[in-house]
Symmetry: C2
Subunit: 204 residues, 2 copies
Amino acid sequence: MPKGQPLTVPDDGLTTKQRRNQPLVMVHTGPGKGKSTAAFGLALRGWNAGFRIGVFQFVKSAKWRIGEQAVLERLGQLHEETGEGGPVEWHKMGSGWSWRRKAGSEDDHAADAAEGWAEIRRRLAAQTHDLYVLDEFTYPLKWGWVDVEEVVATLAERPGKQHVVITGRDADPRLVAAADLVTEMGKTKHPMDAGQKGQRGIEW
Amino acid sequence: MPKGQPLTVPDDGLTTKQRRNQPLVMVHTGPGKGKSTAAFGLALRGWNAGFRIGVFQFVKSAKWRIGEQAVLERLGQLHEETGEGGPVEWHKMGSGWSWRRKAGSEDDHAADAAEGWAEIRRRLAAQTHDLYVLDEFTYPLKWGWVDVEEVVATLAERPGKQHVVITGRDADPRLVAAADLVTEMGKTKHPMDAGQKGQRGIEW
């Protein structure tokens, strides 16, 4: 991290404080590791700042990120018990979104993804969370299950001070253009290339 | 993340389980954001797996990563109280390494960095931690305060199953060559370029 001094000061009529407090859209993309891990690290930091954290996993398997989920939900529980940090909600497509009355159709991932986005849109309108982690959300966008233009417009119009971080490979250029911060994780070397499988505590 | 299937299976005489359990040296480098955040996300996951976490911050200012430190130390406290997760130690150069009897010389960062590395070497020999986060450690290497060849040799010879993650820009090519996993965080877009300063919950 640089020292925190901006390289330029824009002529936008905002004070430093106003500019500092602008809500951000962040995208972690690219073929390398660390996209989701960095997003959950951000959730950790946000929790400590009292943010209301909402995680939405757009993955089929409910087993992903089980370590992060355990810790963040434990932190959410701590918040309820002691008031420390902020509340945490963790929703995943793979086990049927938890706000639904009935289970999602097991086969229709496109409908599940669209339902996930519809709920996020409702929550953005209601200002439910301070930080949204949309994990692996680039894939339903890539596959056309959720409309990129609509996502970009919804993010642009979201009220209040809501931060959004989106992870996944192949982020759409329109999403990249709309984001305030984009980090491309490049794969330089990965143990799976050398035939290693994932291991507990490192991969999940 | 890919599905977890290795692309190749090496002819190294190891079983999948032996290969899976190999200790890793991981490097997060490049000019983009997320290097340290992903390392602390990894610590979160390791904590959940019961790893003994040791964080060593090679930075001058003691104010860095204050959010991550608060949460990880809170998790370490939870471990002491309830047995959940693993123990956490957080040491920083900026406030004088805590294992020292007397405060470090305020001006001699090179000596402070060398002392930090000497302690890590002792701990690696003693197998004190399961995951070492050496935050911003590429800088003392770059500036010649700590010898790269000695670090590479020490890491190669470390006993047991100790994972090490090293963050910072401009990782030395010898360190990259010695690492099992290297992720290059590329900066595509950063709000500081548009004149925004850091904000609580996002930058710290």
